[in-house]
Symmetry: C2
DNA sequence: GACGTAATTCAAAGCGGTTTGGATGGGTGT
DNA sequence: ACACCCATCCAAACCGCTTTGAATTACGTC
């Protein structure tokens, strides 16, 4: 069932039928309803490909995921996608996802642009120095970044958690509780989000005239064993930390395991604060969550990002929009005052 | 730069240029290379939408994710997607993902079919009674199931881990070690994979004339707190289990936490075997992995599924292919013989 | 009753490719 | 020298929709 057949069944021109269905004003109300009814009866739906060709809009948004990024951010990324996906479909957009090797990212974007595959792209996991914004500008491909690229805060559109502030506040909480040997298990610090968390962590110390402790600072892919192994090693060292700031729930779970293995009790002997992306399969809620955390729903971020892209950037690709999401600081069971030396 | 312009620059017809680029034989080698060179020089790439309209193939595969499924399978799902995505792009296919509310799944498929959005779809997380295969057949949309629908094993194409056998073997291992009070923390048992795991668990018992213990059987969304809360409750009961079979690493981590909270040692006091989907952010490997597990890479499954869909099913939509993936049973640190009563 | 205007409707021209059904021309066999 | 056959290449149709520009009809006005 295509437009031609439908218009013949109605004894109307394709023009009129098309206009009736697409809500153009130059169609009488009566005709429109007649068309709509017939379309429903005959089960007509416009061919997507044809419409795309005719309008020049692909009605889809691209997500290019570098393999390396995916390895690291896997679950977080999926949650973002879920949020974005819902918003896309509400607006009639498709989401197309390309998982590519790192060295093929540029080629992937070029292909999207030259073949006119999508109307815009979402950029994930920006690094402190990231070449994607320049490339996308060159290609004329509208985009929005989940995160920020330093130096391009005012030149690109983005949505980002206020990572610096979140980690500064969390660190201050630990300092207020008396902790002075605080470990930081960060993500890889060439990632912008990790650099900002590190900066917040440092700032909280420096503002009180305190120094961070080099032996207690780590940066790596945020896996569970990373958390466990690092924490184990630190806890067994001559001068162990009394608290941990952790960049991911997954890693924090590893830290908790290590603390248990050392026969210590989390929240009493050792404090832990983690960033919590509010992943659906790792709920950390309730009156008193397991982990004290800085929380910001990455799913909401995805949803909001999609909305900004579709409503602000697509209609006017030169618009620059940016939005900060503040993380909540939520007190759970994993923090407590510095234990007094028994 | 479109085909018309390119052909003018070459002083050839669009037909010839199109054929040269698409590898048709009726073009001389010389002409072909001349065309290819010029195309490269001018940066020509065929417009995706136009090609789709002309060929009638969308060169894309759809994944419709019901919200409920997503909640549950989030990380596993993402890993599958990653595997499939790589295979897709190698074959020139796009992956389009729709996250929809459960009650909109049917509508989503109907839309894909009527608008000709994708050439085929991948079906995720089949339930013991699942209406999607029938719908997709009605719509004439080729598909492959990741998992199986009971009763349709020979009527549909699928790829699936041999869940029954995996859990049967794992349960036997525990029984061999002397365990007689084995808890099962399963996924929701209206999901086919969970039903099969349950069946394997039961079979291992029944084959030895043993009964499973109703109080020790649970089925729920496979979150971390589910594991922790269930295990805690069971361990504190008058007749606690001595071993756990768990359907997901995430849940197993919760179990491990509960064991720690009870002051017990995993592998010595309490044994745990989990299914391990080989998620990249939860590596459970090394010489002696943390968890004894039944392991099957869901990423490989995705990759293989995509391959079957593209290479077997698309060329001939009536083909029925099915493939079993065997899970490895890997001994880690979380299992040991039944402790002798001290 | 002629005329300007607004409200509807339509035929046809794209959009940018692929594919069908010839045309053209050089080489071969007799 | 002639018929015939490939090897190449091309003009035009087609995919199914949107949109431009024009035609038709209806209506109120002077």
């Amino acid at each position: 069932m295509n437009l031609k057949e439908l218009s013949q069944a109605l004894e109307l021109s394709q023009t009129t039928v098309s206009r009736a269905l697409n809500g153009y004003p130059e169609v009488s109300a009566e005709t429109r309803s007649r068309v709509e009814e017939m379309a429903r009866k005959l089960g007509y739906a416009p061919n997507q490909q044809a419409r795309r060709l005719a309008t020049g809009r692909s009605m889809s948004i691209g997500h290019v995921i570098p393999r390396s990024l995916h390895e690291m951010m896997n679950p977080v990324f999926m949650e973002f996608i879920a949020g974005a996906g819902e918003t896309y479909s509400r607006h009639g957009y498709d989401m197309i996802i390309s998982v590519v090797e790192d060295h093929n990212v540029e080629a992937a974007y070029r292909e999207i642009a030259s073949k006119k595959k999508t109307d815009a792209v979402m950029v994930h996991g920006p690094r402190s120095s990231d070449e994607r914004p320049a490339l996308l500008k060159e290609l004329g491909l509208p985009f929005l970044i989940h995160g920020r690229v330093p130096g391009l805060e005012h030149a690109t559109s983005w949505i980002d958690v206020n990572n610096g502030r979140a980690f500064e506040r969390a660190t201050n909480l630990l300092l207020d509780l008396g902790h002075r040997r605080i470990a930081l298990l960060n993500g890889l610090e060439d990632m912008d989000f990790a650099a900002r968390r590190r900066a917040g962590f440092d700032k909280a110390h420096h503002d009180r005239g305190l120094q961070t402790i080099p032996e207690l600072l780590r940066a790596a892919d945020m896996t569970e064993p990373y958390g466990a192994d690092s924490a184990l090693e630190m806890l067994k060292s001559p001068e162990p930390p009394t608290a941990f700031m952790v960049s991911s729930m997954i890693t924090a779970i590893g830290v908790a395991r290590a603390i248990g293995l050392c026969g210590l009790k989390i929240g009493r002997d050792i404090s832990v604060i983690t960033h919590d992306d509010a992943l659906s399969f790792l709920p950390n809620c309730g009156d008193v969550p397991i982990f004290t955390c800085t929380r910001s729903s990455v799913r909401d971020a995805g949803s909001r990002a999609a909305q900004l892209l579709i409503e602000k950037i697509l209609p006017n690709p030169d618009t620059i929009v940016s939005e900060h999401l503040e993380a909540e600081l939520i007190i759970g069971q994993s923090t407590g005052p510095l234990p007094t030396q028994a």
